[in-house]
Structure formats: C-alpha cells, structure tokens
C-alpha cells in the first residue's frame, strides 16, 4: 500500500513538473537593482530608478525579452555602503535575480564587489570612479564614464588655453578623491602642475577658505572634483570671491540642479557632461543623436522634468544587458556575462561602448562632451 502511495506521489510530482515546465518559460526575468533613491546621493539614484521603471515598462509593453516579462526588484540603499551590502545579498539569495544594476556611488559599488564576484552574477555599476573596473573584475561592468576620461578631457582644454599651474578642489568622498588622484596622476602628461590642492567635507557650508588659498597660489585654472550640494556651494563661493580664473567641473555636476542651484554663479564654468544634457545641440551627423534625443523626449514626457545625465547610466546598463540576454538566448549568468563582454559598437547615452575582456567600461575620452554654462544652459563647445 505504502509503495503504491509512493508511486502515486512520484507520478504526481512528475506531472506537476511537466506542467511547471512551460510555465517556467513564462517566468519573468528578474532585474535586481539597488540605487541611492534617497539620501545624499539621491540626485543620482532618483533619475536612475525612474529610468529603469520607464524602460522596463516599455520593454514589457512591447512583449518583453525572449518572450518573458521583465520584473524589477529595486531597493533603496540611500548612498550607504552597509545597506548596499545587505540589499545585494537579498537580491542574490532571496530574490534570485538574473542580473544586477546598481551602485549609484563608488563607495556602494566597491562594498558589494567581492560578494558579486563570489556569487558570479552579471553586475552593471553606475559609479564614476575608475577603480570599479580597474583592475578588471570578471562579473563587474560599468556604464558611467570614468573620472580619468573627464580629467583627460578637461586637461586637454586647459592645455589649449595655455594653463600651466592649476588649483584643485575636491570633496573628501570616494568619487571626489578618486578624481583627485587621477588629476594628480595625469597632470604631468599635459604639462600641468598642481599648485594648490584643497579638500572640503561633504557637510561644509562654506569653502571660501579653500578657494582663498587657491586664489593666493595664482593659478591659471581650477578643477573641481565633486558632486551634489557642495559643488553648488563651491561655485557660489567662487562668484562671491569675484574670482575670474577659468573653472572646470567634472560630470559629477551634470544635472540641471547644479545650474539652478548656482543661480547664475555657474556662468562661464566648463563641465564635462554626457551627451544627454546637450541633446538638442548634437549635430545631425552625431552617432548618438537619435538615441539621446529620444531618451530625453521620453523621460521628459513620463516624468515632466529634464533628464539628468545620471539616468543615462541606468539606461545603458539595462539596454546592454538586455541585448546580451537576447544574444545568449537565455538568462544563464555565465552566458550573459560573456555576451556583455562582446558588446561592440553599442550606441548608448554615455557614448559608444566597445566592451572587451580588458576593458569593462568600453568608453573613450571623447564620450564626454565639454560644455560651458551660459545663461543657465549647457552650451556645447565645438
């Protein structure tokens, strides 16, 4: 009797499996994300979360990927590396996501890197610093142009204007300090000397002492490494001190918030930004023109606000991974990773990606556009 019951159980289980099989093909592809939607880095995470939601909805509306719907599992890590670690563990172990997009800040990305590597899951970071992909980590890719590219772009412009001695002002955070390090390392290549090197705390409300010291060093140009509110305070203090030295910022300030917050103080400041911010100024033969303009239009339509460059990191990460999933024909983690590494000539919002085994970012310095702020608008410098 009991053997009969056992047999019955097995048969039922088998039958269940048979029925489950087609159903599992319809199971959604799980996109895991952890972003700084709130907290100090919310200006990064907020447009990224909005972008992911917008484009995952759009993909689902047009039939999904490989006949499967995409399902977003999003956690708000609030710019906190410890929370990022907790959430990534949850994404991997409980939610069993197929790939991860996230890490709005360098600190969060580097904190979760060992865990991602160990679990073996494709991970696209949106952090700016070069350390994320240098040295190359097997499972980790990034879409944000690195600070080295930005600094190189800025230095070549300084060179063109004949600057020799420059001042550096940077925050004490991870992104700022990584950029500062690149600025120090690259300087000699461009015949530039760092005559002043100042740091501020992320909570500083006034950086006039630092700027005063830079001013006393009689520099030809100033480079600011930083993002968020402190950069707005920096540029306002610069105006307040009536300084005229050419002032450069990296892509960390690439949002309308910077221009609006500066309230006119940013006029004449030069910034390396992603093409998203100058969507309407791209020339007709620009390869990125179409993709950038349609993103800008769709984002504006969905959220009724100007798109920030940071949302573009999420867009490129999602599109490249989805393309890789399509090519791999499955969500097998190893296959998807290998396909991401084969991404060639992908025209994204941040530039044209040529990812290789040796370069997990795949962007060139000209992916950044050098702009000058004028009358509260980003003006592309030819």
């Amino acid at each position: 009797m009991s053997s009969l019951r056992n047999l019955l159980t097995v048969v039922l289980a088998l039958a269940a499996l048979c029925f489950a099989q087609p159903a599992s093909a319809q199971e959604p592809i799980k996109v895991g994300a952890f972003l700084s939607v709130t907290g100090g880095a919310s200006f990064l995470g907020d447009p990224q979360a909005k972008t992911l939601r917008l484009y995952i909805d759009k993909m689902n509306a047009s039939g999904g990927v490989l006949g499967r719907k995409l399902q977003l599992v999003l956690y708000d890590s609030q710019g906190d590396a410890r929370q990022a670690v907790t959430f990534v563990r949850r994404l991997i172990e409980d939610d069993k996501v197929d790939f991860i997009i996230g890490g709005s800040t360098t600190g969060e990305t580097m904190a979760v890197a060992p865990m991602v590597e160990q679990a073996g899951i494709p991970f696209f970071s949106m952090a700016g610093a070069s350390v994320v992909v240098e040295p190359v980590k097997k499972w980790i890719f990034k879409t944000a142009g690195s600070d080295r590219m930005a600094v190189a772009r800025i230095y070549s412009d300084m060179q063109k204007r004949g600057a020799k001695n420059i001042g550096l002002i940077a925050g004490s955070g991870g992104f700022d300090q990584s950029c500062r390090l690149e600025a120090k390392n690259l300087a000699s290549k461009f015949g530039i000397t760092l005559a002043a090197d100042e740091t501020y705390a992320p909570t500083d409300t006034d950086v006039t002492p630092q700027l005063t010291r830079i001013n006393s060093a009689k520099v030809d140009a100033i480079l600011s490494c930083g993002f968020g509110a402190p950069t707005v305070i920096t540029v306002r203090n610069y105006k307040q001190l009536a300084m005229k030295t050419p002032f450069y910022f990296t892509h960390g300030v690439g949002s309308q918030q910077f221009v609006d917050g500066a309230a006119g103080a940013a006029d004449g400041v030069r910034v390396t930004v992603s093409a998203v911010l100058v969507a309407n100024e791209l020339s007709a033969d620009d390869a990125q023109r179409n993709v950038v303009q349609s993103y800008a239009k769709e984002y504006q339509a969905a959220y009724n606000e100007k798109p920030a460059a940071f949302g573009g990191f999420a867009y490129d990460a999602l599109q490249i991974t989805v393309e890789a999933v399509k090519r791999a024909g499955s969500t097998d983690k190893q296959k998807v990773r290998d396909e991401i590494e084969k991404t060639k000539n992908f025209v994204g919002l941040n530039g044209i990606f040529d990812i290789t085994a040796a370069d997990h970012m795949g962007l060139k310095p000209d992916a950044f556009r050098l702009t000058e702020i004028s009358g509260g608008e980003w003006k592309l410098l030819k």
Binding site: T38, G39, G40, S42, F43, D46, S172, E198, T199, Y200, A201, T203, D204, T205, D206, V207, T208, P209, Q210, T212, R213, S216, G228, A229, V232, I233, R236, K239, Q240, L241, A242, Q257, D260, G261, A262, A263, G264, A265
Partner: protein, 290 residues
C-alpha cells in the same frame, strides 16, 4: 593679510549661522530644561517654505514671514499636541520625543517637498562686496545684522516684557511660577513657537549660502547645538558667542591647517569645554541645594 581677513569673514558668516541656530536650543533649554533636537528641522522648514513660497511668486518679505509663522505653528503643535501630553514627562523622555519629532518632520519634508536641494538668490543679490581687500557676500552681512538685531530683541524681551520674565520664572521654578499666576503651559508653548520661529529665521537667512534640503537640519542642528553647549546651554547670548567662536575656529583651521579637519574642530572644542568648564563659557555653575 587679505587671506586672514578672508578667513575671518568666512568665520563670521559661519559663526553667525551657528549662533542663530544655537539661540533656539538655548531658549527652549532655558524655559524647560529640554534639549530640542528638532531645532535643526525648524531651520530646514524656514528655508524650504521660503523657497517654495518664492517659487509660487510670493514676494520675499511675505515668504519669509510665512515661513517663520509656519515653523512657529509647527512648534506650538509639537509642544501642545505631543510634548505637553506626555504621561510622565522626564527630561530624558522629552528629549527622545524631540528626536522623534525631528525624524517625522524630516521624513514629511522629504515626502512632500522632494529630496533634491534648493537654493535662492541672496536678498541683495550675489555680487561680492569688497571690504578692506577681502570679499564678502551681501548675504553674510544680512546674517550678521540679523544676529545682532535678534540678540538685542531677545535681550529686551527677557528684561522688559512680562512674558520674558514669565519665561525666566518658569525656568527657575515651575511650581512657584504656577503659584504666582503664570500660565506655565502657555509659557512653554510660546517658548517652542519662539525658538521654532528663530530657527526658521536662521534657515531662510542662510539658504542663499548653505542651500537647503530635507536633511540640512541634521548638520546645522548639530553645529547649532555645539554653539549652544559652548556658550552654556541656558544662556542665549552664550549660544551666539559660542557660534561665533566655533565659526572662527573652523574657518581658521580650514585656512591654515587643513580643510579636512574643519568638522573635527567643533567636536574637539566641545570635548575641551565639557572637561574644563562643563557649564559652558558664559553660564555660572548651577548650585542645587540638597
């Protein structure tokens, strides 16, 4: 030389900001022996409400007044609806409740007004003024003048008005104050309104310099608290001087030592103060008769 002057101006600006925030702590402490950790949030409310009213097209003086009234109202509601209704109001439990109120206000601002930072133009524009070879933002002068006027007003309020004396009486002995006919609950509510209003004033004055964001109250509140401790918690004028000392120390440390240690300066000063003069620079030690 002009560098030193520039650092001193930076110190004066910072110090005036900290002092304005610090007065609020001292006022509430003076009346009720409670440290109101929601004080920083009133600073945030002052800045935020002003920015939003300006954006809605309200002229600056009206927007400023609206922000101050809004903060005062929230202060009264917090005191009357929450703090005065506590069953066993020990000092410690009231302090914990103020921490809760601060979290609530911060969260509400985040949900209602958004997470990005906001700014506004200086009251008299943003073009620097040159004083003795150093550059000063006109807003810094606004802040400093407001600090002086506020100090004078508070001084007059405590010395010349019945209400001010009532607050002093409530502070020194609540029961006795009640017995001589002072409406103690009303006095406490007024104190909360007053310090919330002062916090909001500080917030709207400093927004052109520090920007404002839903969580700006944490940092400014902490610095204002340091200022109040430095000057002796019970003494609003001490808070002002404490703020100025703190501001100068930070600016000079940033200018001559390293900007990385600016924040540490505030906390080193507090530790030194608690070790050497636990009652602060400007408060006489309290003596309790046993």
């Amino acid at each position: 030389m002009s560098d030193l002057l520039q650092f001193l101006f930076s110190g004066l600006t910072r110090g005036s900001i900290y002092g304005l925030v610090g007065i609020g702590f001292a006022l509430i402490y003076r009346s009720s022996h409670v440290i109101n950790f929601a004080q920083g949030e009133f600073v945030m409310i002052g800045g935020m409400v002003t920015v939003f009213l300006l954006a809605a097209g309200v002229p600056l003086p009206v927007a400023a007044l609206g922000a101050i009234l809004a903060a005062a109202l929230i202060g009264v509601v917090a005191q009357v609806a929450i703090i005065s209704r506590m069953r066993r109001p020990s000092t410690l439990s009231i302090i914990i409740v103020t921490v809760g109120i601060s979290m609530f206000l911060r969260g509400a601002a985040e949900a209602l007004l958004g997470r990005q930072f906001f700014s506004m133009k200086g009251f008299s524009g943003d073009d620097a003024l040159v004083l003795l070879g150093a550059k000063v933002s006109p807003q810094s002068i606004w802040i400093f003048v407001s600090l002086v006027v506020t100090t004078a007003a508070i001084s007059l309020f405590f010395r010349r008005t019945i209400l001010g004396k009532g607050i002093q009486a409530t502070s020194s002995n609540r029961l006795a104050a009640h017995l001589v006919g002072i409406d103690v609950p009303a006095v406490l509510a007024i104190c909360f309104a007053l310090s919330a209003a002062l916090g909001a004033l500080a917030g709207l004055l400093t927004t052109p310099i520090t920007l404002t964001q839903y969580d700006v109250g944490i940092t400014l509140g902490m610095k204002g608290f340091c200022a109040a401790i430095l000057g002796g918690l019970a003494n609003p004028f001490g808070a002002i001087l404490g703020g100025l000392i703190l501001g100068f120390a930070e600016a000079l440390a940033g200018g001559y030592v390293s900007s990385a240690y600016q924040d540490a300066v505030a906390f080193i000063l507090i530790i030194a103060m608690l070790l050497v003069r636990p009652n602060g620079l400007f408060s006489a030690p309290t003596v309790d008769r046993v």
